[in-house]
């Protein structure tokens, strides 16, 4: 069987705006795939094309081996989706919505429904209008996780959840993956992605700019090193891939492109290493590397995401 999600060179425009500009994304069976990008970068648009709500202008999109535009309903039976902003009907209770979505997906696992309600501490008798944002999200999560499906598509599912519920969510998604099924998780909570995801794709302005395991991606960025030497180092600044060198007598702090780390260690050793700390890049740094300029511009807008 092929990969559950395969997207190649996807283009989607809204009038003059090119929301997706040749996007590639592959999610493999049995992995949690993190889908990272700031507001307005095209994450939700990608997911909507993937679910057959928007029609692609060009490129190929395969969902569970089928065409999401033409075979939407039959493919949807095999997946569950949690939108980024959960809007409920004001006069339907949470329990009614969970049952409705479950039945529309083709059945609901009663035992899991009860179990999830308990784990998420959700009161199913409240009407949609009286739920808080977090509770609306829980309704959608319980409905999705109680479904017997092969693929979960989650669009920023935890933005309204408190830390305890977030960890419940992480356990549930872990369990789901451990039974061999796949998850596409769009998020900008980096700690969550770091904790959960096997592979990550970073998108920017409608294109995928980076994709791979966290290990792969870390390789692409800088490691920060602090060292205390016996004597001042010689020739550090001239090394390839070394940045932001600060030398204060025998104390050294610098950043180095991870593949070039060996050369730095040679120079340090020549100076006689007394102590050394090296920090691998965090996902945040990875992220900022791709979006740093935008963050400095203060550019990302809050509502830019929706078409």
């Amino acid at each position: 069987m092929g990969d559950p999600i395969e997207i190649h060179q996807l283009v989607k425009t809204f009038g003059p705006t090119r929301a997706l500009d040749g996007l590639d994304l592959t999610v493999r069976t049995g992995e949690i795939h993190g889908f990272l990008g700031p507001n307005g970068s095209g994450k939700s648009t990608t997911i909507r094309v993937l679910l057959g709500m928007l029609r692609a202008d060009s490129g190929s999109v395969r969902l569970l081996g089928g065409d999401p535009w033409h075979e939407a309903a039959s493919l949807h039976r095999r997946l569950a989706y949690v939108p980024g902003e959960v809007n409920l009907w004001p006069n339907l209770t949470g329990g009614e919505v969970i049952d409705l979505l479950g039945r529309l997906r083709g059945g609901i696992d009663e035992k899991r429904r009860a179990d999830l309600l308990e784990r998420f501490e959700l009161d199913p008798t409240k009407k949609g209008r009286s739920y808080s944002k977090g509770n609306r999200q829980k309704v959608a999560l319980v409905a999705a996780l109680a479904a017997d499906v092969e693929l979960l598509v989650l669009d920023e599912p935890t933005t309204g959840l408190d830390p305890i519920m977030e960890s419940v969510f992480q356990e549930c998604v872990d369990d789901f993956r451990d039974s061999g099924r796949s998850v596409l998780l769009s998020s900008h909570i980096l700690a969550e992605v770091e904790r959960l995801c096997d592979r990550v794709s970073i998108i920017r302005a409608g294109r995928c700019v980076e994709s791979g395991t966290l290990g792969d991606l870390r390789h692409l960025t800088r490691t920060s090193i602090q060292a205390e030497l016996a004597r001042p180092p010689v020739g550090l600044a001239g090394l390839p891939g070394v940045h932001d060198v600060e030398v204060d007598g025998t104390r050294v702090a610098l950043e180095v492109d991870t593949p070039q780390i060996d050369g730095v260690l040679d120079v340090l050793r020549a100076g006689g290493v007394r102590s050394l700390t090296s920090q691998p890049p965090t996902l945040e740094e990875l992220f900022l590397r791709h979006y740093g300029d935008q963050v400095e511009d203060g550019a990302p807008t809050e509502d830019g995401e929706r078409p």
Binding site: R48, A73, S74, H76
Partner: protein, 523 residues
């Protein structure tokens, strides 16, 4: 009371158009009665005959109020406008108060304000003053327009002042209602019920010995006897009623917690009923409230037309202007009811269009995404709503006819007429469905423009009322789908135009559904 002034100004500023339209609407309600009655009868003798026919009609009295001096313009204005004017003033008060008190509290916006250095009661007080000012404006509009008509000054003023004070009483009850429940919707339920009960007490009282009317603020308003021996003291009852409601509201307000009500929120079912598991089941669940409301409304509307019985000849009078207005052809009774049937069908078209636009509301509110991400296809989702719209329209249209037939049969004792009048509205099912299908086509192709379907209804309405009067060219008149059918019950029903319009409705609807299946669905 810090902040009341600032808040009051901001409410008045934000609601300036609301206030304008409410005032204009209420003013027109009163003034148009004077205007239309003034032009209706050619002689006082004719007016007296018409008044005598209305005097004895219990259905009219239940609907409007005690029949007093109906052979004068002022008496007619008072009779026909005060009950509905009071209902409208009550609704206006309820919406203005609900919107600025519980509505703001529920949305959490009020929290921002309360954290600012303003008094705890500032929002409530400002909202109350705001709604009271709105009622003053409405009363002023009514009084001035009637004086300008011209009618007697003191009685005109009394109608305006009475309207203002009745509105104030409902300000008090609405202010109390929003303290009792924690959701704006149920507060509207309570305040609306109070208005309904006030109307009902007055109706039952007016048919009977009048005792129950004294329990209703609307009864107090009508007890001022404007244009038929004006007396002012019942206005005091309205002032006392207002004060009682407001004091009670403040007592509750000062004792309750922020965001809480007195009546606890009732939990709903934790499981969905078996029917709620398909596109159709959901569409029915979402639309059934509106369907029941419109259905009952049409039934009552039909009843009130029907209850005129065969007195319509006298009521309509002999003047050519009024004949042109009410009777399009043939026998005066049948002709009048042909117009009534057309009128009911156009009201039913309001249901059909709003129901056909419901899917757009769902899409706009972002509730479609989760649904069509399941095995429910977008076609099936829309088809569920279409089914509810079409079947609902059949029932609502029929409801108007059944009401009409029942009212007529009850008043005249002519049982055979029931079937003939009851089915008459179905003749207009076809044009009503054409308008609904037009709304659906617009929704499928360009959802942003879907509301334009309402314009088509307004156009049809204008053509019906003024088409002949303004001598609008036949080609333009033919654009209204209502213009192609036999005027039942005055003329025999003909199948051909009905079937053609039905086919047109089906084609428009199918095109709309196809277009929807092909376009992007938005959040």
């Amino acid at each position: 009371m810090t902040g009341v002034r600032i808040l009051l100004w901001s409410f008045l500023y934000r609601d300036k158009w609301h206030l304008f339209w409410w005032t204009l609407g209420l003013t027109i309600l009163y003034w148009s009665q004077a205007y239309s009655v003034g032009g209706l009868y050619t002689s006082q003798a004719e007016f007296d005959t018409a008044a005598a026919a209305m005097d004895n009609n219990a259905a009219f009295i239940a609907m409007a109020g005690p029949a007093r001096a109906l052979n004068t313009i002022g008496g007619q204005v008072t009779w026909q406008s005060t009950a509905f004017g009071a209902i409208l003033a009550g609704l206006m008060s309820m919406f203005l108060i609900g919107r600025h008190t519980r509505g703001e509290e529920e949305s959490g916006r009020d929290e921002l304000l309360r954290a600012a250095p303003i008094g705890r009661q500032a929002t409530t007080t400002a909202a109350l003053l705001h709604a009271m000012i709105a009622n003053v404006l409405a009363g002023l509009g009514v009084a001035l327009s009637l004086i300008a008509y011209p009618l007697d000054v003191p009685d005109s003023i009394a109608l305006g002042v009475g309207l203002t004070l009745t509105g104030w009483v409902f300000c008090g009850t609405a202010l109390l209602a929003v303290q009792l429940t924690s959701s704006t919707r149920s507060a509207y339920g309570i305040a609306g019920t109070v208005i309904g009960v006030a109307y009902l007490l007055r109706a039952v009282g007016d048919i009977g010995n009048g005792a129950l009317s004294w329990l209703s603020p609307m009864g107090w308003y009508q007890a001022m006897h404007a244009f038929s021996g004006l007396r002012w003291w019942p206005a005091l009852l309205l002032v006392v009623g207002t004060a009682a409601g407001v004091v009670a509201a403040y007592v509750v307000f000062l004792r309750r917690d922020y965001g809480a009500g007195v009546v606890p929120v009732r939990p709903g079912p934790d499981r969905a009923s078996p029917g709620l598991g398909t596109g159709l089941g959901l569409a029915w669940r979402l639309q059934r409230g509106a369907f029941l409301g419109w259905g009952i409304g049409l039934l009552l509307g039909g009843l009130s037309y029907g209850a005129m019985g065969d007195d319509v000849g006298d009521i309509v009078g002999d003047s050519q202007a009024s004949r042109d207005l009410f009777v399009q052809s043939g026998d005066i009774v049948e002709g009048f009811y042909a117009t009534a049937v057309l009128m009911l069908a156009m009201i039913a078209a309001g249901y059909a269009i709003s129901s056909a636009l419901r899917p757009r509301g769902e899409e706009d509110d972002g509730r479609v995404e989760s649904l069509i991400a399941t095995a429910l296809s977008r076609r099936a989702w829309l088809l569920g709503h279409v089914t509810v719209t079409v079947l609902g329209t059949v029932v609502v249209v029929l409801g108007g006819g059944v009401g009409l037939g029942a009212g007529f049969a009850l008043v005249t004792g002519d049982g055979e007429a029931f079937g003939r009048y009851a089915l008459a509205t179905l003749a207009y099912l076809a044009p009503v469905l054409v308008l609904a299908a037009l709304a659906r086509l617009l929704y499928g192709v360009a959802p942003r423009w879907a509301s334009l379907a309402w314009l088509a209804l307004v156009f049809s309405f204008v053509i019906m009322l003024f088409g002949e009067l303004l001598q609008i060219p036949q080609g333009v008149q033919d654009l209204s789908p209502f213009e192609h059918l036999a005027l039942v019950p005055a003329q025999p029903f003909t199948w051909t135009p009905w079937l053609v319009l039905m086919a047109l409705a089906a084609a428009l609807s199918a095109a709309g559904q196809l277009a929807f299946a092909r376009r992007d669905v938005h959040g």
